[in-house]
Symmetry: C2
Subunit: 355 residues, 2 copies
């Protein structure tokens, strides 16, 4: 029950070699005969030896160095990410984790790739970035990987790239969920959903849209889709287009916004005449304006990817990768679904990752 964990000395003894040799094996320092390597490996397996990471880090005064590259701009979601990161910064320092946040222009894969290339000079343990689909970016990631840096995509993945891990929600699933909730909110009756995205080229938006339309098609029960609006994630643009769409098509019973720029959407809803029943509205990311709209009863549901948890998970995974514990399974994040009643308190209350 209270069996002791074996140390490297135990392993060496069990393998019939000296501590030095065992050490040479687990830290691949080379210059060890094939036979000895095998014996040490066997001893490790038999005893179930696991390196004591705390002791190892202590001996080296090691500090984990991670970089988070976040798109800059007025996007509330990413601003919140930055805030969460800065809040955990000090707590992490205690645990010998140094997190640096770098900003790059949003939607600019070239700039992002360039940033990564610059990083590959420094000595660091891991990088987390918001993915995009771009060959230059793939190259930059490969380059980092070659230098032994753990690379992890956050929020959005980089398709077919050599990143170790994607930490974020499945956007197709999120879209399908939105579709189901919309159907549910129609209470068995028909209707027409107005889909709003930032851009069809944005992978996450496209996936959400796809998910929603699939669900509507499969089990919609009379809920159809109006033509898709591309709002470019800009509040004013979204506002104009949605306003027009509602005028053009009075049959619209619901709005699904898969992207950002929803402050504009909220403005349209505020201006609706109070006598007509407003459309059912589902949108993504709990940010100040969506929270307010939810509280005011202007919208019905918010699907949120819980950035706090994403950050926390990303940090856990980065650390595990830096510790060479590469058992990195995919990490599923379950998006939260918010209504008026279950809004969390605003305080970003992540304590400090994990001890």
């Amino acid at each position: 029950m209270k069996r002791q964990l074996p140390t490297l000395s135990d392993v060496a003894r069990h393998a019939g070699v000296s501590y030095a040799t065992a050490d040479r094996v687990i830290n691949d320092r080379g210059g060890v005969a094939e036979k000895s390597v095998r014996r040490v490996r066997e001893a490790i397996a038999e005893l179930g030896y696991v390196r004591n990471v705390a002791a190892a880090n202590l001996s080296q005064k090691r500090t984990y160095r991670f970089v988070f590259v976040i798109p800059e701009g007025p996007n509330s979601f990413f601003q919140y990410l930055r805030q969460v990161l800065s809040e955990v910064h000090d707590a992490l320092l205690i645990e010998r984790v140094d997190v640096v946040v770098k900003n790059v222009r949003a939607f600019d894969a070239g700039a992002l790739a360039q940033c990564l290339v610059e990083l590959s000079g420094e000595t660091l343990d891991g990088v987390a970035l918001v993915g995009m689909d771009d060959p230059k970016l793939r190259d930059a990631i490969d380059r980092l990987k070659e230098q032994g840096v753990a690379v992890l995509t956050l929020v959005a993945d980089v398709p077919e790239a050599g990143r170790d891990l994607y930490v974020g929600i499945d956007n197709v699933v999120a879209g399908r969920t939105a579709g189901r909730l919309l159907i549910l909110a129609h209470g068995g009756r028909g209707g027409r959903v107005l889909p709003v995205v930032g851009s069809r080229a944005a992978l996450d938006h496209a996936e959400r849209l796809q998910g929603m339309s699939e669900t509507l098609a499969e089990t919609g029960g009379g809920v159809s889709m109006a033509p898709v609006i591309e709002g470019r994630d800009l509040h004013d643009h979204v506002e104009r287009l949605v306003r027009q769409a509602l005028l053009d098509d009075p049959e619209i019973t619901a709005i699904y916004s898969a992207g950002a720029g929803n402050a504009g959407l909220v403005r349209v809803l505020e201006d609706l005449p109070p006598d007509v029943s407003r459309p059912v509205v589902v949108l993504h990311e709990l940010v100040p304006h969506s929270r307010r709209a939810l509280q005011d009863g202007l919208i019905d549901l918010v699907i949120d990817q819980r950035p706090d948890d994403e950050i926390k998970l990303a940090l856990e995974c980065l650390r595990r990768m830096a510790d060479r514990m590469d058992q990195t399974q995919p990490v599923p994040i379950v998006p939260a679904i918010y209504v008026r009643e279950n809004l969390p308190d605003t305080i970003a209350d992540d304590q400090n990752g994990a001890p």
Copy 2:
């Protein structure tokens, strides 16, 4: 930027005392003049010293010893909790955390209290238990606390007890959320919700019920409540009562089950004639039968408290408390809302707490 964290030697030097004295202060060994204590405390504050927990644990070969007391019985939810705990057990051992699971009879506060009393003999760092409202339980908790054991309630709290922390969802909020979703699913039309609980005496069930009825009353828009059914969390009992209720009141348009025993509820739904539109169904906890019912389209929504996350969080908090970092803020857990489309994979894929 890459400032080094100060060590206790730094503190001692800065305070103008020896390492031994500084050590006596932070580990309250006594025999230190008031003046020196003050000077050390000041130095700690000025330098921002935080003791290196990893080094401290290493020096003592310390193993964290935690006990989870889980109600036994056929309840799928608690079975799943046990499973999650056994899955993380080995991974935790690596990080020098030893978790023991103890089973006690469900709904038996006396047995639970007795179990805690027995525990208070052993040397352990923390206990997690599923709370109930009982004076004997409160006493047992106080006793543990006196011995310096961290005590944390999981899933359900113990009202007004000396536990350090409650890790679980807010059941009133969960009920309010259910209410909102039910209203939404009525699509603006009226209806009548059939509420099912295990027992009105069960605090969590009562809170959920209260939350739902509040929301219906405040903004229900014609959605009312049928008399509450007490199913005692037993499948057969629930089945019989619900079947009868649906016969008695054909106006019922929805069912909200706040407790367990939902396999019986699902059986009723299966037997409904295919021509009539079935009621909207919302229930709690994603367990095998609720998952299947969701997939089969028999029910609409499941509110789940994500036991994996609860366990993980509980462990994090226990460890932090054991490390004397008592900055224990309340820990909000956002329940997940599942529909057919966003069911997670079944694999319980928690890796290993946190490094």
